[in-house]
Amino acid sequence: MTVPQQLETGKEPEEEGSSLAVQVSGLTKIYPGGTKAVDNVSFEVKEGEIFGLLGPNGAGKTTTIKIITTISRPTAGAIRVFGVDALSSPETVRRMLGFVPQAISVDGDLSGYENLLIFAKLFYVDRDQRDRRIHEALELFGLADRANDLVKHYSGGMMRRLEIAQALVNRPRLLFLDEPSIGLDPYSRLQVIDHIRQLNRNFGTTILLTTHDMAEADELCDRLAIMSMGKIATSGAPKELKRSVGGDVLTVVASGKLPDSIPPELGSVASSLQGTMKILTVDGEKAIPRVTDHLEGLGAVVESVSLSRPTLDDVFMKYAQGSLQQEGTYKDARSARRSATRHGR
């Protein structure tokens, strides 16, 4: 993907509310031993959006997040978080962001309340706001009645909610979520997704998340990027990406005479066999009545029309899989994963 290089010109023209939360350019991370975990990656996250970073295991997502959160240093490249250089002022950057790692990172030996209290202190949340925010967060996330229980007795879903509640106490401008719904049952997963959306809508928190769940990414993300072998394979809004792997497919079952072709503004006929016709089109829902009208105008009797759309899975398979076959071997993938594990998740 190509991103216009943001040069430091002193002042940047503010376009209506579209300032940037994250600007990453030319990011490269080579681990000792030569594994290139991230290879010249550039992307931007706009303020107020939910941005997804997807990709197969070992694609470099977690490494990228670690570098933006200033936990790890890049081999090359530049990172700006709300305009602040993450390499020269890591502590200023860390004050603006919250991080929920992939593994559950709440402290099981403390109560839910204490977990929020300690991390609020470590984030220097004002003393006079601290307690009110903690109680609000516990209430909102349905943890108030268990606030004084040790977290090790919580369920996985409650622990995850506590971690996200932390963000409500600390009010970071940018929240990183690494696989937020991994290992959760469907109900807890829905709750977590709902809370993420609330944070984004009600508090304007910009969110950068990674996930393997394509349906979740489609549902939550305003924009996303797919990483593969340390590079960004493609990026854009979920809708655009789905369109890019091919349009919608209409399957028409009809009796009577079916044409071999239809006007191009309706789409194109992919196959027409024994009263079943497959039509490739751009905007499937709108095409249904028009195609039906057209076919019935020609004397056919349409019995049913079904629409199938490409999913993000198709996008993922195309870009992630494609680049694996192109330039990656099983051995590369394995060594990337191994070193990712060795250097911490």
Binding site: Y31, R94, I118, H343
Partner: protein, 257 residues
């Protein structure tokens, strides 16, 4: 808040985190008193019968009381590296390091927490000494001094342990290194016998052993009341502590890279 205020406040917050955990479950603290109790009650009592040692007029059990305290603090502190590796494994360390708090605060906070445990050990040794009738100097200032040295010493070895953890990186290796470090330090010190009894080469080693200075300082406050060596003792421990805190702060990120 200035950045110094923030560092100090964060260090105390990390220590508070550990203290709160101890309040929820203090089983480990109590179990940690078994070993020093054995040293005093069994080893001390048995060797009390031997009069051949020149201990400056003190009984053997009096003589080893400061050594046993120093040793028990050492054993607690040296395992802090395992704690930090465990926190890395469960993802807590990553989260701690993603807060705006400076890294040195994380190290100092953990070291202070080791100090809290050190104080507990100190109190337990005093209590034991009272119960079994070991005559120590129970002067409030001396007690305060001994507890202070315990805190400093716990911080010293907790930070050394965290420094080592950033190289060794796994819990198993840290368990091993704990054994490798503690016993030689213990035997190459004046904890359970006077340095003058050691062979010449071991005497040289003991000069570079921080444990000797700790025991010497504690012994001055608990037994002899001769404070002439105390400034040097405290200065040496302080220097070691500062060096290890700085090295751990710089190297800690190796654990999560």
């Amino acid at each position: 808040m200035s950045s110094l205020q923030r560092s100090v406040s964060s260090a105390f917050t990390i220590a508070e985190m550990e203290a709160r955990k101890l309040r929820h479950d203090s089983t480990e603290l109590w179990m940690r008193t078994v070993q020093p109790a054995l040293w005093l009650l069994v080893f001390g009592e048995v060797f009390n019968a031997i009069r051949g040692l020149n201990l400056g007029g003190f009984s053997y059990i009096q003589y080893i009381a400061p050594g046993v305290l120093a040793q028990s603090v050492l054993f607690i502190a040296i395992f802090y590296g395992i704690t930090i590796v465990w926190e890395r494994d469960v993802g807590l360390l990553t989260k701690l390091l993603s807060t705006p708090s400076p890294r040195i605060s994380v190290v100092v906070g953990k070291a202070l927490a080791a100090g809290v445990r050190g104080i507990f050990q100190g109190i337990m040794i005093f209590a034991l000494a009272l119960i079994i009738g070991v005559n120590l100097r129970f002067d409030p200032l001396d007690i305060a001094g001994v507890l202070l040295v315990s805190v400093l010493f716990a911080m010293c070895f907790a930070s050394l342990s965290m420094t080592l953890a950033s190289f060794l990186k796994t819990r198993d290796r840290m368990m091993g290194i704990g054994q490798v470090i503690t016993m030689p330090l213990f035997f190459a010190s004046n904890a359970i016998y006077p340095i003058s009894l050691m062979p010449a080469w071991l005497q040289t080693v003991s000069v570079y052993n921080p444990l000797s200075y700790v025991v010497d300082g504690m012994r001055a406050m608990l037994l002899t009341g001769d404070y002439s060596g105390l400034p040097v003792d405290i200065l040496v421990i302080f220097a070691f502590t500062t060096a290890f805190i700085l090295s751990a702060s710089v190297l800690l990120k190796r654990l999560i890279e």
